[in-house]
Amino acid sequence: MVLTHRTIEGIDIVALAGRLVMADAPQIRQSLLTTVEQGNGKLILDLAQVSFMDSSGLSVLVSAFKAARAKGGDVALLHLNSTVRSLIELTRLQQVFPIFDDEATALARLR
């Protein structure tokens, strides 16, 4: 799992690539929580390159979401591919996660 981080106008944008699964969850969770803690709690997660995700990966997203909200911020999910989208819909989290198909709209939402 590869994680790429950049910041635009105080909003953290993290792109994840590879498998977001049990083996990688602890490390990615820690990394995202650190990002939320050190930043403004406004986080965009670009999941375009996530090839597979299990419920441990989902748990990482929820962790980041809770941490951001607790700080008065929010998490937006960007570029869900069909694998990730299926899992999020199956678990009915699409009803609560802010989900976007383009970065500009996601940025506008978090601004």
Binding site: V21, M22, A23, D54, F65, S82, S86, L90, T91, V96
Partner: protein, 149 residues
């Protein structure tokens, strides 16, 4: 000749090894399922194997985890086995449908507890048995049209 073919796959209870099982499963399932169907099956198996590692063995590596695939013309039977601590009886039956969390109440955003429900949603039948020190989560999937063996 209508005969079931069985493949047994085993790994050590280590999160990094789950990917090997997953890849092997996908390779085999390409014989009989579409990509979308394989994705669902794969997700169920990854969850089941994760559970064996995390709960049956409490995350301890070095233990035996096995996936068995029975491939018949009309159905696919999958079993995930471990020799760890069994799941409490009725735990599987207690699984309920997914309820979306309340966006305004962070306490409703649970970090876990989705694995078994995902498995149930992805498979046609799911059963659990602890016997003679071996725990088995048995899952099946009926094969209908499309790709055939």
């Amino acid at each position: 000749m209508v005969i079931t073919r069985t493949l047994g796959l085993d790994i050590e209870s280590r999160p990094e090894c789950v990917e090997l099982l997953s890849r092997a499963l996908c390779g085999v399932c390409q014989l009989v399922l579409s990509a979308a169907e394989i994705a669902k099956l794969n997700l169920a198996i990854v969850e089941a194997v994760n559970n064996a590692i995390e709960h049956a063995y409490h995350g301890e590596s070095g233990h035996w985890v096995r996936l068995e695939i029975d491939l018949a013309p009309d159905r696919l039977d999958l079993r995930v086995r471990d020799r760890g601590q069994p799941m409490p009886p009725d735990r599987l039956d207690a699984v309920t449908a997914f309820v979306p969390p309340d966006p305004d109440d962070l306490n409703t955003w649970s970090l876990r507890g989705r694995g078994l429900a995902i498995i149930k949603a992805c498979m046609d039948t799911v059963e659990y048995e602890a016997r003679d020190g071996v725990n088995t989560l048995a899952m099946s999937r009926v094969l209908t049209t499309g790709k055939s063996a």
